[in-house]
């Protein structure tokens, strides 16, 4: 029975959202359970995808076409391959744990879960759809709910952060939109279908260079490449936990996914021409953001900047244009997503317990709530690139690939490892070890019981699993990266 698995994954959150709109605000338990069921279904769907995918062939699987708009070359066509399946799994893990983390939300539960599910539906759409029109439709659909989420449930100067985040990302997507039109016009195939373009289209070198840089900047703004990254720390500092979890983990990866799927796959000469730019963006991202973290005082800003620094590793990995580099980049997308989600979940938990995120007045957290702080410490160690956790594998592969391309960039990227060690350990020193400060506002017994810690257990188990035997994920990706690089 070939039941349309992809449309089930895509429609589950949307149906859940529609259902939630009709539930009254009072019974928030029902709303939360609907959200959980919706994200649960897509979680099962993505697990089925992971199990049932045979990673020897790299072409698109479970392809479904619903309808098409005649004359405009637009059609609603779904399909997945080795690159998008891990990311679909990542999205479902994050949304599932995001919904779990916000179980104790009291304030306007209905709209929160509706917007969260809309956001994740957008993310699923981008990963599953193979048509540029619907790719862009879901790409923007994944950005807009963030505006309302930050504005209504956010903290700090949330209006400024929400505006900056949304307008910045949509400006970036404006470039991508323009790029899609040029692509449609230049490819001469009169279709927006990415699958056909990947197989048939061929572009002139000059056009490839121009379009590549256009997509690099367009998608780069979403994956927080260096000069276009300022929206992400402010945005995440003001966003509610589940929203920043989803945005940092999933949407940033969508940016990198876009670069891989559209830019690197279609424009080999363009990629070679701009390789130096991608490498420098990656390295600057790693070092610059890591340096910025060292002086931060607010936990969420720290996680925001460290997220930018880790996206630099992804950009560096893509920039090397070697199989190891792409494997490393895709692995980093997955592991970075889960790690940042875990970091945000623990920071969110600490914030709820201690009502403050400033490092100076958080003292001795390890003594006060050992379980919650162990999760933060473990996530910090992944961020640090400790072997045995997934962060290390990605960093190793990417730095190996960079060394095989150029020693200068490789050694600069190596420095990033020390910097990440410095800022993580400084946080542990200043607010986790030591004696709890007397004015600790948290009531006793604030630590996790197994129910509140369930999302963090799920997230950390993936980090550990991938750290110990990374071949599970690498075999998915290596086939696709060979195909992606066939033009090089």
């Amino acid at each position: 029975m070939n039941l349309p698995i992809l449309s089930i994954i895509l429609l589950a959150p949307l149906l859940a959202m529609a259902l939630i709109l009709f539930v009254k605000e009072e019974n928030s338990r029902l709303i939360k359970s609907i959200a959980l069921i919706g994200s649960g279904i897509s979680f099962l769907g993505s697990i089925y995808l992971v199990l049932a995918y045979d990673y020897h062939s790299a072409e698109f699987r479970w392809v479904e076409q619903w309808f098409e708009v005649p004359g405009w070359g637009i059609q609603f066509i779904l399909g997945v391959d080795g690159l998008s399946i891990p990311l679909v799994l990542l999205t479902s893990i994050i949304i599932f744990s995001g919904v779990l983390v916000s179980q104790n939300l009291k304030f306007r539960v209905k709209e929160f879960f509706a917007l969260l599910l809309l956001l994740v539906a957008g993310a699923y759409g981008v990963l599953l759809v193979l048509d540029l029109f619907f790719f862009f439709l879901f790409y923007e659909l994944a950005v807009i709910p963030m505006f309302l989420l930050v504005n209504i449930w956010g903290t700090g100067n949330k209006t400024y952060a929400a505006n900056k985040l949304t307008l910045y990302l949509l400006a970036g997507s404006g470039l991508v939109l323009f790029g899609f039109f040029i692509l449609y016009f230049v490819s001469g195939l009169n279709t927006f279908n990415l699958k056909d373009m990947l197989e048939l289209a061929s572009f002139s070198p000059g056009m490839q260079k121009g379009l590549f840089i256009l997509f690099l900047i367009g998608f780069g703004t979403l994956s927080a490449t260096w000069p276009f990254h300022t929206w992400s720390p402010d945005g995440y500092a003001s966003a509610p936990t589940a929203a920043s979890m989803l945005h940092a983990a999933v949407l940033k990866t969508l940016g990198a996914y876009g670069i891989l799927r559209v830019a690197v796959a279609l424009f080999p000469e363009g990629a070679h021409y701009w390789q130096w730019l991608m490498l420098s963006f990656g390295v600057i991202n790693i070092l610059y953001a890591a340096l910025c973290v060292i002086v931060q005082k607010d936990l969420k800003y720290i996680v925001g900047y460290s997220c930018v620094s880790h996206m630099g590793i992804v950009m560096l990995g893509i920039g090397t244009l070697t199989q190891a580099g792409l494997n490393g980049a895709m692995f980093q997308m997955f592991s970075h997503g889960i790690m940042t989600a875990l970091l945000f979940a623990s920071v969110g938990y600490i914030y709820e317990a201690k009502k403050t995120r400033n490092l100076d007045d958080l003292k001795g957290l390890f003594k006060e709530m050992p379980k919650a702080s162990t999760f933060f410490i473990l996530a910090g160690l992944t961020c640090l690139g400790l072997p045995g956790l997934s962060g290390f594998v990605a960093e190793f592969l990417v730095i190996y690939a960079t060394f095989s391309v150029s020693y200068v960039f490789g050694s600069l990227a190596l420095l990033g490892l020390v910097l990440s060690a410095i800022y993580i350990l400084r946080i542990l020193k200043s607010s986790f070890w030591g004696v709890p400060s007397d004015k600790s506002t948290a009531p006793v017994g604030v630590d996790h019981n197994w129910k509140t810690a369930l999302p963090q257990y799920i997230l950390f188990s993936f980090l550990l699993l991938l750290g110990i035997c990374p071949m599970i994920l690498i075999q998915f990706i290596s086939q696709t990266s060979i195909v992606l690089l066939r033009g090089y």
């Binding site: 309808f67 929400a162 939109l177």
Partner: protein, 472 residues
């Protein structure tokens, strides 16, 4: 065939309203029910006459695919305005019948305008439509504001139509004919004569005024701010689309030769969009904000039309239909927000989600659609228009249009933010808005329409493609 056509039904409706206006006292509630049904009947006739074809009155009046489609869109706008204007608060009782009378005559004028193929019919239909609108503005009983708006509206209107007529006379002199298709046929050999450009551009003045393009856009903010909300909804959508359809007809007739005016059209489109979007950023009054936003939307429509390709024009028609629904819903929300018909500052939207969740959701959907956010019809329309522009080679124009729609995001999103956030309002400050069941149905319908046509555009696109297929 003539009996069932839209024109007859509109004349009957205006006679019906005219008879009501002669009565001494008007039994308002009964009257308002009838208004709804009258509008519905006219809509039915438009739908029924959708596949009428034919040329009447010595090729002066043509009914082809394009005109019938545009008539359906115009009458849809007319019906929605009537349906939503059931209790017009700021027009006192005894003027109510005249209010609907002039709405109907204006729609009649526009319907005739769409089918006109000759300068005389064009001019008369245009004047009929404009004069009924000039009279609707002063009906609003808020004193200075509506008086000033009406005088501005009529002065600029008269000036534009005067220049247009002078243009027509020169055109008539040059081409010795008043039939549009013959004028279009002689276009290539007219380009050498400088006087032709004066004639051509002057005769476009009337439509620039109607569409509020760049040189003739100045009246829009003032009139929109002071006019009655339902009328302004009508003017911003139906009369703009009528002007657009004349422009499209002329582009279709001129065909390739119209490309000679390209850089003028591009300049006007960019100017209209940019001025509309930039001035809207700082507006405090909701209707004035929507005025500037409608100027910007006209700019996007022009981008579609000036490509003069099958894609461009069908995209423009799709976007016009979507724009009609979005704008009417937005003005409907303003009319619900304003207590007794007076103006609504943007801060009045605060906490709307508490006062009425359905209205807040409609506001969200309509403003997101206006901003061009997926998966709504606004986004799909913009996608068609911009991709057509890039296809016809206007890359710079498409880029400017994309970044204009990003600038426009700011003011749309701020309104939605206010609707969904409730800082600064003390707990008891919000009294809930009760929506009549008819209006609730309208809200659900408009949300459904915007989302469905946004995600599944092919339903409507096949219609537009047939309607203009005959010209390419």
């Amino acid at each position: 065939m003539w009996f069932y056509s839209v024109e007859t039904f509109l004349v009957l409706a205006s006679l019906f309203f005219f008879s009501w206006s002669l009565r001494k006292e008007v039994h308002l509630t009964l009257f308002h029910k009838l208004v709804g049904w009258a509008g519905f009947l006219v809509l039915l006739s438009a739908l029924f006459s959708f596949d009428f074809r034919g040329v009447f009155f010595q090729e002066v009046y043509v009914m082809d695919g394009f005109s019938q489609l545009m008539k359906v869109i115009l009458v849809l706008g007319y019906f929605i305005t009537l349906f939503l204007a059931q209790e017009v608060k700021d027009v006192d009782g005894k003027h109510q019948p005249e209010f609907y009378l002039f709405l109907t005559t204006s729609t009649l004028g526009m319907v005739v305008l769409v089918s006109a193929k000759d300068l005389i019919t064009l001019y008369t239909a245009l004047e009929l439509a404009s004069y009924s609108l000039y009279l609707l503005i002063p009906m609003r009983s808020n004193g200075k504001g509506s008086a000033e708006a009406s005088i501005k509206y009529i002065l600029i209107g008269i000036a534009a139509s005067g220049i247009m007529v002078y243009g027509f006379s020169l055109l008539f002199g040059l081409t010795q004919t008043t039939y549009l298709n013959e004028i279009a046929a002689q276009l290539p050999l007219l380009y050498q004569m400088p006087i032709f450009w004066v004639a051509f551009f002057f005769s476009l003045a009337g439509f620039f005024f109607k569409l509020s393009f760049f040189p003739f856009h100045a009246w829009t903010p003032d009139v929109y701010e002071a006019g009655n909300t339902q009328v302004i909804g009508f003017i911003s959508t139906v009369s703009k689309i009528a002007g657009l359809s004349v422009l499209i007809r002329f582009m279709l007739l001129a065909g390739e030769t119209a490309h000679v005016l390209d850089d003028v059209w591009v300049a006007i489109a960019i100017a209209t969009m940019t001025i509309g979007n930039l001035s809207a950023l700082i507006q405090k009054d909701l209707k004035r904000l929507l005025a500037y936003s409608s100027i910007a939307q006209a700019g996007y429509l022009l981008v579609g039309v000036l490509c003069i390709s099958e894609k461009g024009i069908s995209g423009a028609i799709y976007y016009a239909a979507a724009y009609l629904v979005m704008n009417l819903t937005a003005f409907f929300i303003i009319s619900q927000l304003s207590k007794n018909g007076n103006n609504v500052p943007t801060s009045a939207v605060k906490g709307l989600f508490k006062r009425s969740p359905l209205l807040a959701l409609t506001l969200l959907i309509s403003f997101f659609a206006l901003a061009g956010i997926p998966p709504l019809a606004g986004f799909t329309g913009k996608w068609f228009i911009f991709s057509a522009a890039v296809n016809s080679g206007y890359n710079v124009l498409a880029l400017v249009a994309i970044f204009n729609s990003i600038i426009s995001l700011y003011y749309y999103l701020m309104v939605v933010k206010d609707a969904y956030s409730d800082e600064g309002i003390e707990a008891g400050g919000l009294e809930p808005i009760r929506l009549k069941p008819a209006y609730q149905i309208y809200c659900y319908l408009s949300i459904a329409v915007l989302v469905v046509t946004g995600f599944f555009p092919h339903l409507f696109m096949s219609l537009t493609k047939q309607s203009i297929a005959v010209f390419f």
